[in-house]
């Protein structure tokens, strides 16, 4: 039996798929809380180049992938599609399981799929330098790699506590030529102010974002090379770039003669899930019967329990109101071993597709996800990133469901990255330090009460 299905390099997709063109319910624009008006390009221009902003709002179904981007993507793409034959045998269920291996990228995850085009579009816009923030370093390392490919300077503000505790991705960034500094730093006004108050500040994601944005927005005023900021999830153009995953998978599955009955991905900000699922959702919109599962942690149930409202993003009401699935301001996620699954709100595109019934959200407890990850490692061999384990747990659930139903099914899952830099999470699992936590319904209802009276999108 064939285990790996490859595409030749000349079979790599040459266009990204923009699902905005096919949305049954057109996307509503984010609103500025100050004016109540849609956020325009000028609001985003200080941080993103206009060519990416154009992609952000594009309604074109297909967007050409520039040759220069393809040239870089070919370093690891087309990524292999695997048939998980050893897991199938272990489960003994009437299913074929295919997985798209996104762990083969230089940075070890799906993140470079958007880091590469973002670096490219910045370069052709005349930008010489990109600033970003990172927590444990998954996005920072992906962007560092991408900038090195295009000769751009990368500046990564890494939350100090992670900078000191997690050296491996920092060293990856350095190896790719990026400058990675602990945040707060002495290089921005935001950082200096924090350090003046507390020279030993361990930093936070909020401080690091402030520093990266200040770096970008003030670059020209401060005499630095033209600089923009980069974000690795949530935004439409990020999801667009990731669709190369699903587009490749469709071609690879066509070689096998199979088509998935179920498509599964883990969903935090939504980019890896969307990248695999959106090209198949296009078929679903056209009438194909297919189950599309977005898997999230039970402890952070944005899609499975949150309603769709315009959510004030911050306490001072300075930022746009994005229509997102949300649990409201008061929602505080429980600890989850899922580095990428940390967004308060799901990507608006994914949220709308949930509302339209095209995506089925599912929440899974973290102990089940790690159990699935260990089963995967002991059958398929690869050690998955903690967030990827959510999708693998859903694969096992669906396989067992097929057995119960007595139906033969084909399952496609996006294996979004390896967990070789996240082994401490496995250590905690093996030592019994992890616990399941489900947000009490009362707590959810209290959080949602805070949103009463807020404007709601037209549904």
């Amino acid at each position: 039996m064939t285990v790996k299905i490859f595409l030749n390099e000349d079979e790599i997709p040459r266009q990204w798929y923009n699902i905005a063109a096919d949305m049954p319910t057109p996307m509503q624009p984010p609103l500025h809380p100050g004016t109540g008006q849609p956020v325009g390009p000028d609001d985003l221009a200080p941080v993103f180049p206009m060519n990416l902003i154009e992609q952000e709002v594009s309604q074109e179904r297909w967007i050409d992938i520039p040759e220069e981007v393809l040239d870089k993507l070919l370093l690891w793409r087309p990524s292999p599609l695997y048939r998980a034959v050893k897991l199938e045998k272990y489960l003994n269920c009437p299913v074929k399981i295919y997985y798209k291996n996104e762990g083969v990228s230089p940075a070890g995850s799906h993140k470079p799929n958007t880091a590469i085009p973002q670096a490219y579009y910045n370069k052709v816009f005349g930008i010489k330098r990109i600033a970003t923030e990172t927590g444990a370093g998954q996005w920072g390392s992906a962007l560092s790699f991408a900038c090195s490919q295009f000769g751009l300077e990368a500046k990564v503000y890494m939350v100090r506590i992670s900078y000191e505790q997690k050296p491996y991705r920092r060293l990856m960034m350095n190896t790719w030529g990026a400058t990675c500094v602990p945040s707060p730093s002495t290089e921005t006004e935001a950082g200096k102010k924090i350090l003046a108050q507390d020279p030993n500040s361990p930093g936070s994601l909020g401080i690091a974002i402030s520093e990266a944005v200040e770096d970008a927005v003030t670059s020209e005023a401060m005499g630095r090379p033209p600089t923009r900021y980069s974000l690795g999830s949530v935004l439409n153009h990020v999801l667009l770039h990731q669709t190369i995953i699903g587009l490749e998978a469709k071609k690879q599955l066509a070689k096998t003669g199979d088509y998935p009955d179920v498509v599964i991905g883990c969903a935090g900000g939504g980019s890896n899930f969307a990248g695999c699922a959106f090209p198949f959702i296009a078929d679903k919109i056209a009438g194909k019967e297919i189950k599309v599962l977005a898997v999230e942690p039970t402890s952070c149930p944005t899609m499975t329990k949150g309603p769709f409202l315009y959510d004030f993003g911050d306490t001072v009401q300075m930022t746009p109101l994005l229509p997102m699935h949300t649990l409201g301001h008061g929602f505080v996620p429980a600890p989850i071993h899922a580095g990428g699954l940390r967004y308060h709100g799901m990507a608006p595109l994914v949220s709308q597709l949930v509302l339209d019934g095209l995506i089925e959200p599912r929440a899974i407890h973290q102990l089940e996800t790690f159990s699935a990850g260990v089963t995967w490692a002991r059958t398929e061999g690869f050690i998955s990133a903690p967030e990827t384990n959510h999708a693998l747990a859903a694969v096992i659930q669906e396989a067992k469901l097929a057995k119960e139903e007595g139906k033969e099914k084909t399952i496609l899952v996006n294996w979004s990255g390896h967990g070789l830099v996240d082994l401490a999470a496995y250590d905690a699992y093996f030592q019994g330090k992890l616990q399941d936590y489900e947000l009490p319904q009362e707590e959810i209802e209290n959080a949602l009460r805070a949103l009463e009276g807020f404007p709601k999108p037209n549904l």
């Binding site: 994601l205 402030s210 949530v234 306490t315 930022t319 940390r342 709100g345 936590y437």
Partner: protein, 103 residues
């Protein structure tokens, strides 16, 4: 489930931070937000000790509300707020004034 203590864990006790994607110790969560607790500390530590009761004894009602009932900013939210701050900073620099206070 055994009844939890109101006594907080050792400052060095670690859990994985869902925002950073790596381990953090309790002492960090207690001061993550400019010296105040991380907005997620209640839920993150709820299974380890009576976090809510502990923080209610530590903070006034108003402080508790500011720390835990305000919006936990997403990356996108924080980004756009930071743009406004940086724009103000440029404006102040052009006027020759000192940079505006953060936040």
């Amino acid at each position: 489930m055994a009844e939890l203590s109101i006594t907080p864990p050792n400052e060095e006790k670690q859990i994985r931070c869902p925002r950073l994607g790596g381990p953090v110790h309790f002492g960090y969560c207690r001061i993550e937000h400019d010296g105040w607790p991380c907005s997620r500390a209640l839920t993150c530590w709820a299974m380890h000790f009576e976090a809510e009761a502990y923080f209610r004894t530590l903070l006034s009602e108003e402080q508790f509300a500011q720390c835990f009932l305000a919006a936990p900013q997403s990356k996108m939210d924080t980004l756009l707020e930071a743009v406004e701050r940086a724009r103000l900073l440029i404006g102040e620099k052009r006027k020759g004034n000192s940079p505006p206070a953060r936040g």
